[in-house]
Amino acid sequence: MAQVAKEKIKSGVAGAVASAILAILIVVGSRNLNHFDAALVGYTFATLFAAFGITYRYAMWLQRPPTRMYWRRGWRVFLNPRLIGSNVLELARRFFVEFAANRFIFRRGKGRWIAHWLIMWGCLIGAAITFPLVWGWIHFETVPGNTALYRTFVFGFAMQDFPVESAFAFIIFHGLVWASFLVIAGVMIAFRRRMIDHGAVAVQQFGEDILPLLLLFAISVTGLMLTVSYTWLRGYAYDFLAILHAITVILTLVWLPFGKFFHLFQRPAQLGVSFYKDAGKTGEQAKCLRCGEPFASAMMVRDLAVVERQLGFRYELGEAEEKSSRGEEMKTGHYQQVCPRCRRALFGLAQGALWRRALNDRLGEAS
C-alpha cells in the first residue's frame, strides 16, 4: 500500500509539473495573454486538466514493473553508442511506415485501416490547428496599410504574409472543416464495422469502443454546424452551437486520460519495444530446459523472470527460489526457461502421469 501511495504522489507531482509547464508556455506563447482569446478559456482549462491527467496516468503506467522494465531497457538499447546512428534512421523509417501510414493496422484489415487512418489524421490536423489557437500561440493580423493581406504570428513572432482572398487562405482557414470530413468518414466506416462484424460486436464495450466514436462524431458535426451557421445562415444559432461544440470538445479533453484515446500516448512504446526485440534477436538466445531448443532472447527471459518476481509470481523451480530471494540473478531453474511448446506438451504429460499413478494405485489395491 505504501508503495502505491508513493507511486501516486510521484505521478501527481509529474502531472502538476506538466500542467504548470503548459500554463507557463501559454502565458509566454501568447505574450502575457495579449493574444489569448478569452472566449476560449474553457478549452484552455480543459487542456490543462488533460495535461495533468495524461501525465499522471502515464507516470503511473511507467511505474508498473513490466512497463518500467521495457522503458529502461528500450532506452538503453536505443541509446547504445555503437548503434545510435542506425537506430535513429530506423526510428524515422518505422515512424513513417508504422505510425504515419499505419501499416500494422492495414495488415489487420483494410476496412479497419482506412477508418483508423482517416480518424487519426483528422484528429491530428484538428489538434495541430486547435491547440495553438486556443493557447494563443498562433494568431493572425491584417498587415498595416494593406487590409488584403493577413500576417501569421507564432509565439508572437511574425512569420508569413498571405492574401486574404487566396486559395491558401481558404485552405488553412477551413482546416478544421477538412479535418472534420476525415473524422466523419472514418467514424462512419468504423461504426459500420462495429455494427456488422460479429466478432467486434461480441467483444466491444460502450465506454471503450462506441463512446470515443460518438465523441469524435459530435465534435466534428457541431464544428461543421458552426461553419454552416456563419457561412450560409448569417450566424443563426451561432452562440448555442458554439457552446454545444465547446461542451463536446471539453468533455473529450477531460476524458482523454481515462479512455481509449490514451492509446495515443501509450502506442509509441511500440517503437521502443521494436529496438529491444532487435537487440534480443541478435543477442544470446534462451534454450529450453526441457528440449534444449532456443525459443526467445535470453535478455527477455531474464527480464521477464525479474518482472514476475516483482509482481509476486513464484515460477522458480525448487532451490532457485532461495537464490533469487537473496537478490542474485537467476541462472537456472525457472519455469520461464521452458519453451511454450514444451509447456503445452507438459500439460498433457502431467495429466497422463496422474492417470498412471491412479491406475497403478488401483492395481496395487486389487492385488
Binding site: R64, F104, V203, V273, F313, H334, P340, F347, L354
Partner: protein, 218 residues
C-alpha cells in the same frame, strides 16, 4: 456474459489428434480465419500422443500482469480476452510468460491473439467451436452434472502447479477421481515424463528367424 452454469472441460488423454478443433477454431468470428487452438504432438518422433491446448483463462492471468501496455483484460465472467488492438505493442511478454504456452504473437499485425473461448458464441450460450466438433470429447463444454455423468472415473480440477506457483483457472482439466476436493496438477513434476510408447503385436509375414508375433514398440 457467458452463462454461469456452462464450463469448459479439457481431457487431453482423449485427444485423437484429428485436427477438427484446429479447423473449427478458425471459424470463430473474433479471430476469423486464424486458428487459436494448439494441437501439440508431445514427442513426435516416438509417440502419436497429442494435446489440445486452449486458453485456460486464469483467475490471475500472468499474461495480463506482465503486459507492459495493459492490453489484456479479463471480462466479468472470467474470460481472458485477446490483447486489445489499440494497446498491444507486440512485445511478446505474454507469449513467453503464459504457463500453458497459449498466446501467439503476429509480428506483421503487431498483435497478440489467443483463444477467447469463442466469446461471440459462448456469450450466446453456444459451445465454443472446438468443443462443438471434438469427436472424442477431449474438449467439452457443458454443465458439471453432464461431465460427471459422462466421466464417472474422472473429476474436474482447475488448480495447476508450476514450480512454486499455483495457478487457478476458469477452464477445467479432467483428472482421476480422488478424495481430494480439487486435486492439484503439478505440471512441472512432469518435466522428466515421456509419452508412453505403445506396445502392440504385429504379425509379420515371412521373416525367417524373426518371431512373427514379436511385440514391436512404436
Amino acid at each position: 456474459m457467458k452463462p454461469e452454469h456452462l464450463h469448459f472441460f479439457i481431457d487431453p488423454n482423449r485427444c485423437i489428434g484429428c485436427q477438427a478443433c484446429v479447423q473449427a477454431c478458425s471459424e470463430c468470428d473474433t479471430h476469423r480465419g486464424t486458428s487459436m487452438i494448439h494441437l501439440e504432438y508431445v514427442e513426435r518422433s516416438s509417440s502419436v500422443q497429442t494435446v489440445p491446448v486452449v486458453c485456460m483463462h486464469c483467475e490471475q492471468p500472468t499474461c495480463a500482469e506482465v503486459c507492459p501496455a495493459d492490453a489484456i483484460k479479463r471480462t466479468g465472467d472470467g474470460v481472458v480476452q485477446s490483447a486489445r488492438k489499440p494497446r498491444c505493442i507486440a512485445c511478446g511478454n505474454c507469449v513467453v510468460a503464459c504457463p500453458f504456452g497459449v498466446p501467439e504473437l503476429y509480428e506483421d499485425k503487431q498483435i497478440m491473439m489467443k483463444c477467447d473461448m469463442c466469446y461471440d458464441r459462448a456469450t450466446a450460450g453456444k459451445k465454443p467451436m472446438c468443443a462443438t466438433v471434438c469427436p472424442s470429447q477431449a474438449l467439452f463444454f457443458g454443465t458439471r452434472e453432464q461431465i460427471e455423468q459422462l466421466r464417472p472415473m474422472s473429476m474436474p480440477t482447475n488448480q495447476f502447479r508450476f514450480g512454486n506457483q499455483t495457478i487457478t483457472t476458469r477452464v477445467n482439466m479432467m483428472v482421476p477421481r480422488s478424495g481430494a476436493q480439487r486435486p492439484l496438477v503439478n505440471v512441472t513434476d512432469a518435466m522428466d515424463e515421456k509419452p508412453r510408447a505403445r506396445t502392440v503385436s504385429l504379425p509379420v509375414a515371412g521373416g525367417g528367424a524373426a518371431d512373427p508375433f514379436a511385440e514391436v514398440e512404436v
